[in-house]
Symmetry: C2
Subunit: 224 residues, 2 copies
């Protein structure tokens, strides 16, 4: 056997589906999903465009795999605590992950077949709810409600044109308010002013609604 490495031209070691998909996620994080092309992805990996098709059957499959990587990053509900703490943990984790990969939210609408990490995640959440005493159909309801809140919040957060409280203040003064004549939009004006004054933190906002939902679900379980 020769002392030579198998192959190694431009950037790194050999390709693999893992490496391809992981780099695709990085690229989408940086440039958005519209900036992700097979050529750009390939050149980020130091390869030719067609080489990618040995690891991924099509761009569609690549996108599916990217979504599943995102689900892999979301913390599963821990088993050792009460159900509310467990669901809060995983919901907070989901929001964080989706905030890091905003393209994933928009992608979900068009991808209908769940990947393995997605399935593992759903299984763990359902298990948590069932063990907490929710009847089968009630666990389904709770699942829908919680997931709707998490995804919807992430979707709204992704479409905000600012990231920090300072940026919010700037944009409110220079962009929003000029577009909102006070006589036509009195309540939005009031609301914008109050929001700037109070400061705005998406993490806090998220927790508020989440705890409200969790508390509302509590009486629906048949406590052991």
């Amino acid at each position: 056997m020769s002392a030579r490495e198998p192959r190694q031209i431009a950037s790194d070691a050999g390709l693999s589906k893992q490496r391809v998909v992981a780099e695709a996620v990085r690229l989408a994080d940086r440039e958005g999903v519209d900036g992700l092309s097979m050529r750009r992805l390939a050149s980020a990996l130091g390869a030719g465009a067609m080489s990618l098709y040995h690891y991924v059957a099509s761009k569609e499959e690549l996108l599916d795999a990217m979504i599943d990587i995102v689900f892999e990053e979301i913390e599963l509900p821990p088993e050792e605590t009460d159900w509310q703490s467990a669901m809060r943990r995983r919901a907070v984790s989901a929001r964080q992950v989706l905030a890091h990969h905003p393209w994933a939210i928009g992608l979900m609408e068009s991808r209908t077949s769940p990947g393995p990490a997605n399935l593992r995640h759903r299984e763990a959440v359902t298990a948590c709810l069932r063990r907490a005493g929710f009847p089968v159909l009630m666990a389904t309801h709770a699942n829908w409600l919680l997931d709707s809140y998490v995804y919807g919040f992430a979707l709204q957060e992704a479409s905000l044109p600012f990231d920090t409280a300072d940026e919010l203040a700037d944009m409110t003064e220079n962009v929003f308010l000029p577009q909102l004549p006070p006589d036509e939009f009195p309540y939005l004006n009031e609301s914008a002013a109050a929001l700037v004054a109070a400061g705005y933190d998406p993490a806090e906002e998220f927790i508020f609604g989440l705890d409200l939902v969790l508390a509302a679900l509590e009486p629906l379980r048949a406590s052991a």
Copy 2:
């Protein structure tokens, strides 16, 4: 003045921004947002691709206008009833509209500047909450919570690979269950079986979570 119409070659009367955007929405409904290209849209209107650019500055602007048409279709909260009924009406309407235009959900993530119909809608919802007695910041919280639920539900619904209870039963038996070994996914198996047995109606599922959220918000308003 001549008896001759101004212009009329292939399909209809003259173009206009309204007609262009409305046809774009129809096309996206039929073929998804990926199937919407300037050429296909133009040919659906009996025009050349470049003619569209007289009414829309770019495809981005077209997409923004499409989103705003969707918001125009959503019923505003009626003023004559109690706040819960009003919010339920507009939430149900929003779900229906988004179910008809699933591409809109995925689009929102990338479009950060709200159109006029969007602003009118937000103003009306905020007004309804404020008049019901919610303090300013509490109205903001309620807004976030309700919108998160509506958008998130629509997002999940759009990513379901079936539309009717029958299709669910078919797909569960022939697609899902074969992918879900009972020892690895006991709870998902149980849940799928119960769901097929109970029948599934997204409208009912939506109302369940919605009413739960509305009831949870009730004590947070300073009732007059």
